[in-house]
Amino acid sequence: MKHALSAAGVATALLLVACGSTGSTSLGPSGAAATGPTPPAASLTGAGSTFIYPFFSAAFYAYNQKFSQLTVNYQSIGSGGGIQQFAKKTVDFGATDVPAKDSELQPIGTDGTVQFPATLGTEGLAFNLQGVSDGQLKLTPDTIAGIFLGTIKKWNDPALAADNSGVSLPDQPITVVHRSDGSGTTYIFSDYLSNVSSDWKSKVGTGKSLSWPTGQGAKGNEAVATTIKQTPGAIGYVELAYIIQTNMTQAKLKNRDGNFVLPSPAGATAAASQFLITSPTQFSIVNAPGKESAPISGYSWVLLSKDQADKTKGTALVDLFYWLVTDGQQYATNVHYAKLPANVERNDVAALKTITSGASPLLTVSGS
């Protein structure tokens, strides 16, 4: 009965998507044959990072177009939520921008979990200032720290003016917008600030939820972006996809080498290439050296149970994510993420191969 219902549901969904959609959705190369295994029929639920949501949204939609028997319901509730709901086993997979710790994954623990990067992205500092357009504002590690610590309170502060000669900054208070939920995006941002500002490191530190010295909270990358867009004089840290997809203005950031770069997928790739090892314990790529490196970049991770109780679901999961880290990466650049570096992709496939149901591994692909 249950299968009949879900089949009917999927069929109806297909029918409606086919009849209802007018223009083609520009998600990237369509019709490219997937070189992964065909997944079984299943409906999967995942939750977590809002950082990765634009990529997941596009990729899962495309996968469903190819394999209509698999629907992936992903809810972006924040990295903290992703870890928590995964640990509670209320969702089939979690997504987080900072790998989960053993204490967060009880009772399954890090031993029972497979964590692997699914995408590479970068954060920008989006702002709302009349008359200042995209890339016109220049921010350095010191000014960013000052703004978010609350020591720089107005846009025409001398510290900001010094880096921005030629741009007229108004005498307007700065409204800082940060995350109100447990956020991997916050983790990456605070990781960066702790690296570049000893003041920040001692006063606030690094984490998914922080005791913010100033500013108002919004839930998810989405709400931070919306708040910035609606509040003149606001500034906040947002994942790049949201900034570009909604035509927000962002600042040029001074990276470690001293260059002012506008955050971009290429910058993320440049930053990632500086690090040879990527693992759940060594994952930070913020403040990377390199001329083009975007300073606030990071991977976004997927959490899967190493031992899948439900064999069908487990197979569906490994097939889905095998595709996501190999062929699915082609959808990344269209939605302003960077493709995973080759070594990371290899490690991901190896990690996926360790997932079993009972004693037998679920991923049936040959080769590397």
Partner: protein, 279 residues
């Protein structure tokens, strides 16, 4: 001005103030409805709004078909749970409830009415999500059912109390057993009030968001299985309000308009039904 003149002037001033209060009380609803209509109508009239599923973010277009079905299913199941139980409790209170048990039921019902809606969400999560191990529409239905119970219960009890005792006595005098008198004479006489109560409770449930947040979680795909996470109109409004994509924000307004229409029409129908049933 003499004393009397002063008092009359004061009276006029107070009257004016009261009129001002009346206008201040009436204005919010017009402002609200006008804005929702103005901002929501373009979205509702967009082709595909009712029939399409949401598109991936960043892609224009899409609709709320999954949310409409979701709201119907979730509220439907909640009503299936709450209406029979609520009606039965209302009957209990009216016919057998003049005692301590009845009083405590009334007290609990009053307390439940005053609880914050988020408490029902926590209830639904602890009882049906954490235990079963996944989010589901049915946990949202359970939370909503508990929310609806006091409303239905009260309306039923009031409607039954209003039925004149002569009807009861007449039935009993004819030798009918108590349960027959209640079910076949008294309840049908009160059905106007009971149906009204049920409709009002359903309208309220359709608009609730907080109990759905961590029970049904949400779903961008169409989902007919109540054991899985499902979308809903109120969730669509809440989530889309907070995203920076204009097509989704427009859908939030349109979904809000749809909700307001559903709720208002149900409320009006309920009131009209009472008026007709009383004739």
């Amino acid at each position: 001005m003499n004393r009397l003149g002063l008092r009359v002037l004061l009276d006029r001033i107070v009257t004016t103030l009261i009129i001002a209060c009346v206008m201040a009380a009436a204005i919010p609803v017009f402002i609200l409805l006008l804005f929702v209509l103005f901002k929501g109508l373009p979205g509702i009239l967009t082709p595909g709004f009712f029939s399409d599923l949401p598109h991936p973010i960043g892609v224009p277009g899409g609709g709320v078909f999954n949310a409409i079905i979701g709201t119907l299913i979730i509220v439907g199941i909640a009503s299936l749970l709450a209406v029979p139980i609520g009606t039965l409790v209302g009957i209990f209170l009216s016919e057998f409830g003049r005692n301590k048990v009845g009083d405590s039921v009334r007290f609990v019902s009053d307390v439940l009415t005053g609880l914050p809606s988020i408490a029902f969400g926590i209830f639904g999560y602890t009882v049906l999500v954490a235990t079963l191990g996944h989010f589901s529409a049915i946990s949202a239905s359970a939370a909503l059912a508990v929310l609806m119970l006091p409303v239905i219960l009260r309306a039923t009890e009031t409607a039954l109390i209003l039925v004149p005792n002569s009807l009861r006595e007449g039935g009993l005098a004819l030798g009918a057993p108590r349960w027959r008198v209640t079910m076949q004479i008294v309840v049908p006489a009160a059905v106007g009030g009971i149906v009204t109560g049920a409709l009002l409770a359903m309208a309220r449930a359709a608009g609730e968001t907080a109990p759905l947040l961590f029970t049904t979680l949400g779903n961008e795909f169409l989902q007919l299985n109540p054991g899985r996470p499902m979308g809903a109109l109120s969730l669509t409004v809440f989530k889309n309000a907070l995203v920076p994509y204009t097509n989704l924000q427009d859908q939030a307004w349109a979904a809000a308009l749809l909700l307001v229409i559903i709720v208002s029409v149900t409320n009006i129908l309920a009131r009209l039904y009472v008026r007709r049933a009383q004739r």
